[in-house]
């Protein structure tokens, strides 16, 4: 599609037997925030690094802005902002000096946004980088990625080490990019972060793409656990046949349900008894992964 910013076709990157990614196919549309969700070591950074021509695919291909990064690296690099998952700085430099150096590598683009972005993120520009905490270094990395208003932001675990307040500011920055029609590719192992920021999400595990979903569908597909405490012992069979109940176990006056989808019928069934207490657990990332695994083939 002409307005796809990133297109991966059977992208494979092998490093010996275990690491790398296998046969990834997906596309990221212009103007969307695409989440790339997976546990550490799943292949998120490997995928990202092929987009940026830091490493080259073993098989398959990847295109960014309609060109292969390998063949046209500078065309891609001119239009992206990148926050690596793990990165080093020129430790002896001051933050301002560092950021101005990167502006100069981009022909001065973004120099005028260093101050406002640093203010927004509460980053002190006049300190040497080696004195900064991990979170403050991460902020410097964010300023570096956002300052030149790139068409595509590639963010690899960007909120690592940020305190919750700054995370909110960061989410605001992502919304701003979306607002002006920019595209964001955000990798994360934190589900709420992806829910908060993304339009669609690809789930990757052990180097394979398990699914690509709208964020709403993902939530609907997600398994949740609901525990009812009743006033008297209950026959669990009355819940087992409900369409959205995946599994049900009873133990005296307690019923534990694994649920996918609508809750309406469950609540109505429970309401026939005296409910003392209800506990719900949001699905953990592992549970979502499990679900995605069971669904099988990538969509």
């Amino acid at each position: 599609m002409a307005d796809d910013v990133i297109v991966a076709q059977h992208l494979t990157k092998s490093y010996g037997a275990t690491r790398g990614v296998i046969d990834l196919s997906f596309s990221v549309h212009a103007g969307e925030v695409f989440g790339f969700l997976g546990p550490n070591g799943a292949g998120k950074s490997t995928t990202i690094r092929t987009m940026l021509d830091l490493i080259r695919p073993t098989e398959g291909r990847i295109e960014v802005f309609g060109v292969e990064p390998r063949a046209h690296p500078t065309d891609v690099h001119a239009r992206i902002g990148y926050v690596p998952g793990e990165f080093g700085f020129y430790e002896r430099m001051h933050v301002r000096e560092y950021l101005e150096a990167f502006a100069s590598f981009r022909d001065g683009a973004g120099r005028d946004r260093i101050e406002p972005l640093a203010d927004l993120l509460r980053l002190d520009l006049d300190r040497p980088i080696h004195e900064l905490s991990h979170g403050n270094k991460q902020k410097a990395g964010l300023v570096q990625a956002f300052m030149h208003d790139p068409d595509l932001l590639v963010l690899d675990e960007p909120t690592q080490g940020l305190d919750p307040l700054v995370q909110q500011t960061f989410y605001g920055l992502v919304d701003e990019v979306r607002g002006r029609g920019g595209t964001v590719f955000l990798s994360s192992h934190i589900l709420p972060e992806v829910e908060r920021t993304c339009d669609r999400v690809g789930i990757i595990r052990d180097g394979r793409l398990l699914s690509v979903d709208d964020i709403g569908d993902l939530k609907a597909k997600a398994l949740r656990t609901i525990v009812f405490h009743f006033a008297e012992p209950i026959d669990v069979a009355s819940f087992q046949n409900l369409p959205s109940v995946v599994a049900a176990t009873g133990h005296g006056d307690t019923v534990t349900l694994t649920v996918q989808g609508e809750l309406d019928e469950i609540v109505k069934a429970a309401a026939r008894h005296t409910v003392v207490n209800v506990e719900t657990k949001e699905p953990s990332l592992e549970e979502i992964f499990l679900r995605a695994y069971q669904d099988g083939a990538p969509t």
Partner: protein, 263 residues
């Protein structure tokens, strides 16, 4: 000046100042000792005649003359050691060091092409090695004569040009090993190892019959023979060292453009 050269030079500032002070101190110290060497010239010359051939082939045969003394004390061993330790260290750091420190990812995702990153780093190395060589030249011509070390300025300039080219060749060699492997330790070990082996080769090859041709394999032969302090500039020596350096740079760019960056 290209931004990456300016930024890289600024990052090298402290190192260059430190090594510059070291080189200048060495040059100055040996100049200051020269008057007392001169006094015991007759004894020392006899002593030198009895040194092993390999030692004499490297430090020269005319120890007590100003040119011979400068060669033996500054340009035959200690000067190159200091310059090469700096050059090889900085050459390995330029790409492989940044890769290991993980600062290279961001640099390579700016619109500066990979090949130009290597070239800009190479130019930075050249400028810093040049600065150290010019410093040695200035110290020798300014502070040598007061201590009786009078050598024609043109010959000192020729010597320092060869000094620069030798340092450049090894710095770019270390750069190339770092570009090919991504390992700073490899860059230092390979370039340092080659420096030691070719240095020894240059010293002993001429003393072994049938092996003298092997001396031409050593960069130190092209650096020091015939002695620039006595005979001035030799175009072919300049060209050989410059060609070695250039080949290293081409290899650096070629290998670095082809490979994956370390994760």
């Amino acid at each position: 000046m290209r931004p990456l050269i300016r930024v890289s030079l600024s990052a090298q500032r402290r190192a260059v100042i430190g090594w510059g002070i070291g080189l200048a101190a060495v040059a100055l110290t040996y100049a200051a000792i020269y008057p007392s060497i001169k006094q015991s010239a007759a004894d020392l010359d006899t002593y030198m005649q009895n040194l092993p051939d390999a030692l004499r082939s490297i430090i020269g045969t005319d120890y007590t003359s100003p040119a011979g003394y400068l060669r033996a004390e500054l340009f035959a061993l200690l000067g190159p050691v200091l310059l090469l330790v700096y050059g090889i260290g900085a050459g390995g750091k330029a790409i492989a060091g940044e890769e290991e420190a993980r600062s290279l990812d961001l640099l390579l995702t700016t619109p500066i092409p990979r090949g130009r990153v290597v070239v800009d780093k190479a130019i930075t190395l050249a400028l810093t090695v040049l600065a150290l060589s010019v410093l040695v030249f200035v110290v020798v011509i300014a502070l040598g004569p007061p201590f009786g070390l009078d050598v024609a300025i043109a010959n000192v300039a020729a010597m320092c040009l060869m000094f620069f080219l030798l340092g450049l060749a090894f710095a770019w060699f270390a750069l190339a090993v770092g570009c090919a492997t991504g390992r700073r330790a490899w860059a230092s070990a390979v370039a340092g190892g080659v420096a030691v082996v070719t240095y020894v080769l240059n010293a002993i090859a001429p003393t072994i019959s049938g092996l003298s041709w092997a001396q031409t394999l050593s960069p130190f032969r092209w650096y020091l023979e015939p002695d620039p302090l006595v005979t001035g500039i030799h175009t072919e020596n300049v060209l050989v060292l410059a060609a070695v350096a250039l080949v290293c740079l081409v290899v650096a760019v070629w290998t670095f453009r082809r490979r994956d960056l370390a994760a």
